[in-house]
Every structure is written in C-alpha cells, then in structure tokens.
Amino acid sequence: MKEIWIVEAEAVTGLGDSLDDLWTALKQGKSSIDTVERFDTSSYISNYASIINGLDLKNNADSSRADESMITGLLSRLSSSINPLPNDCAIITATTKAGIDIFDKRSKCEDNSCEALYLPGLPRHAARQFGGSQNGFNVSSACASSTAAIAICGTMIKTSMIDAALVVCADLVTEFVFSGFSSLKALSGQPCQPFDKARSGLTLGEGAGALLLMDSEKAIEQKRECKGVLAGWGMASDAAHITAPARDGRGLLQAMTKALEMAGISKAEIAGIVAHGTGTVYNDAMEMTAFNSFFDNAPPPAYSIKGSIGHTLGAAGGIETAVCLKILEDSLIPGTCGFITPEDDAKGLIASKNRRINGNAVMTTNSGFGGTNAALIISNNSKKKAGK
C-alpha cells in the first residue's frame, strides 16, 4: 500500500511569513487579530480581522499594480521558502474566493485581465510562482476546501494518477467576504473565542499554506525528508442545511470515521485534534457534540487556531495541517487564544494553556457551508524508510 508523505510545509499568516514564525507565535499565545483598516467597516457588525502586513496594493509606488489582487503578493511570499518541486509535480489549489478583492475595486469583470478572479486561474498562477505542472485545478469545498484538496491529492497519489502534488491554499480578508459574513450575523463583535461559553461569532483572517505531498517511494528516491504522513482522510456531507451545521455533527462524525478506517489506527491513538473551532455558537457546539460522540466522551486535547489568526476560510485546512506537523514534532498542542470559560462539553477538551501530548497521530477537521465536512489524520510514524 502506498504511503503518502508530507515533505514540505509552509504558511503565511498574520503571525508571520513562515510556518516556524506561526508556530513560535502560537506557542506564545499571540494573536494577529486587530481592527481592520483595509476598508471601512462602519456598516458591519465587526471591525476585527487578522490581516497580513504589507499585502495591500493601494499605497504601492507602482500605480500599474493598484488593480491587481492581493493574492499575487500572498502567493509570492509563500513561494519564497519552498524548496524546488519534483518534476511533473501537480499543483492543486484550494480557495473559496481567490482574488475576489478585485470586486472590491470594481463590480464586474470585463476582460481577461482578471485572472485572479477565476478560480481555475489560481493553479495557473501558483504554477508560475512555485514551478510545477500547468495542468492543475482548484478545489472548492467552502471552509473545508484545502482539507478536501489534501484528501483529493492523497487519492490521486494512491491511485497512481500522480506521485507528487503541491497543495497551495489561500484566501484573503476582503470587503466582499466581510460584508457577507456580517450580513449573515456570523461575525463576532470582538476577537473570536472558540469553544468559549461567551463565543458570539467568527473573526475573519487571511493566509496561505503550501504542502508538498509525495508517494513515499518517490520521496525516498529523491532523499526528501518525511515531515509527516497523511495517514487517512474522510469527507462527508451533513445533508441538513446550507449555511448551518447539522447539530448532531453527523457529517463530521462520518468524515472522522472514514479517516480513522483509512489510517488503520484506533481512536485511542489520536493524541490531539486541531478542530475547525470558528467561534460561532453552532459550529463549536456541533464539533463538541461530534468529538465527544466519536471519542466515547473521552476526546483527546483539542485546539482551535482561529483565535490567533482568524478564520482563513478555504486556506484554513492547509494551514492547520501544517500546524499538525509542528504539534507532532514538539508533542505539544497550543492553548486556544480567546478561550476563557469553557462550555460544559468543552471542559478538558479545550484549554487556554499549551498542553503536552503523547502519541504519533493527530486529527484535523474542517466544516463549511453546504454542509461539507472533511477530516485528516496526520502521523509521524512512517512505516517506510525515512529520507535524509
């Protein structure tokens, strides 16, 4: 059976331009959530988000770039620390809205100059930035987009469609998205508080992640280092509601069950959970229900990154998977920023302080609009001979 290695992982978030920066900040309990100055938020229910410094182009000295999407700069920063890709590496991207900031500048797209707006343009753009095949595609599954993209790349490697894929995920904080979540009353008036009793909504964030997945045999041949194993994945739909999760967590339960079956391990071997944990009342309640049910009321320590970098939408799963690698490397799960007073179901599950974990596998989950759910199991226990 093929084993799938993650041999490169990077992230650009409000907490820095690298995964190492992010991990250091997470362990220190830092948050990049602040008031938004990118656009006027006075008519919205929140003015908080996690913004990446220096992405805005409106003050750029080169006026010809003023009409570009910020996604260009975001991918450029992300690509700077990724090692050369293998030949014929597929580029699979994940985003919910790609360069939708172009619509914040004009209300329609009249010609071919708006490549960043077209979701198939993102893999093309990423291929130029990172190198790699021009024949990639974008995966969109709402806030589970990059989790689903990783699962699809895993599937493509297992079936020998490809033997290496770079998953590139990115989403921006734009007025388009901000106004939409505000209109849905989904934004928190304060920085979000995942799994807290007083949570009142999510805080948007922007970010990007890149993960290079390889067939272990090819990775060994190329002397690539195994940073983690994509041991299992599962995807499922709630079939319940378009914008709200199924309260019983049925879709997430099914996704976690499939992931565990594929990984071929027991529930007890999952040492930690990187939850979706958006900070909305219904999402977090659904997840607590699902985790308690799945782990027979004894779930391992769980964590949400959203209090630190906001909800990065389609990029969330990719960034969180990269964080899983760090969790396994340090045997430590960070404290959840913004979490103060636990819900009854969250007692012992979530903590505000860093916790030690003991084990070789963690689970990361995401859910989103359309009732979509995805779960990945990341392990550091390769059965194959390690690379360099």
Partner: protein, 247 residues
Amino acid sequence: MITAHITGIGFVLPLCCGMGRDFSQTAPQISDAQSENIPDKRGLPKLSPTETLGKPHTRFGRMDDFSRVSLSAVAFAIRDAGLETREERLGAGIFAASYYGCLQTDADYTLTMADSPSPGLFAYTLPNTFIGEASIIFNLTGPGIAIQDENPFSSIALKTALAHMHVSGDQAVIAGASDIIPDGLESNRARTINGGLYFTLEKNRAKDRSYGKIEYDGKGLRFNNSKTDNLSSIKESCIKTLEAKQK
C-alpha cells in the same frame, strides 16, 4: 483499473434539459455548442422544481442561475439512475467541475454591497452551495467537491470521482460539469458553455440499469472499451448504447 457503471445522465443544455432515458435527438452536442456559433444569450430552458427535482422546492426560485442549472442537471442524473427512490442512497457524493462557477453571482452580490448586502445571495457565492442543496434534497451524505478547471467539460470530475470511489470504497458518485458564463465575458466563452451535464456512477448495479462501464487506469478514461476524454462524447455513447439495447 478503476471501473464503475454509468447509471444515470442529467443535462441542462441550450434549448433542452432532461435525463438520459428521455434524451431528445434535437439536443445539441457540447462540442457543437463550443463552436463560434453559440448564441449570445444563454438560451437555457426555463427550469421548474417539479420538473427537475420531481417535487416542489421553496428555495429553487431564489437560487442564482448557476446553482439552479447545476442542481437541475444533478437531479436529473440522480433520478435517471433511480437513486432518489432507493432507501439507501449509497452515501453518494458529488464531484462538480466548472470554469466560472458562481462568478456571475459574485458580481450580482457585489451590487448589493453598497446598500444592504444580501445574505441570501451571499450564501450562493460559493461554487459548492448547489451541492449542499442537492445533498439535502436527495439525502446524499458523500463528499461535496467543486473543482474549477480550465476545461470543465473534459473528464476531470469523472477521473477524480472514480479515483475517490476506488480509495474510499463509496458505492456511488454523481460527477460532471456545469457553468454559467458571466455577463460581458464574451472573449472567454470558448473555455466552457452555459449549462450542466452530470453522470451517476455506481460500482455495482444491475446490468439493465447501466449505460455501460467506465474505466480509469490512472491516466485516461475508457467507456465501453473506447477511449474518451469529454463528457459530451460519453453522453453520446451512453445514448447509443441505450438505443441499441432498446432495438
């Protein structure tokens, strides 16, 4: 080799819509529609929930065009396979390719932002929202994946769906493509077409329900032992197989 049976076809194309088993020979082929002679207007048939979904649906009229067209084509494929009447939906998921997806909806939502952003419209600014609608209507609990590709009506959704069935063990998947070309984007329309074309794929099904066997070797697709690489040609082959069976 990954194999599955095609057991349902659903389509909403310029001037026609329906299921494979009701196929009208007047329906244009996708390859024709992609030519320079495509009409400027979308030319898609008017869709009603009772006709497409087989039952009334309160949100159908409020959906954006992309979701309505895509959902209708998926619904026809499900109904053509007889999947909607079965107790167990086999945990089917949906793999849907597009080029523009809901870009027109994005533009329409943007127009509401100045006065009062529409939450109803915002919910449809994701290309997977219609998949959620279909999963609710037909109780489909498999993955809901929207893929954006340069050539959505090629075989990308089918290949990805077949690979998923093989690895996950899922018994059924609905896969295909749909698109709505946004207003004013004349220069890009050669990449895709207005409309939707979806197939129901099942691992095991009685032969009398199967249009034929689709195979995937990790590189290319074969339908009934012939190489193929676009949805239109597969649909045409399915119809021919059906007609031959009926003679």
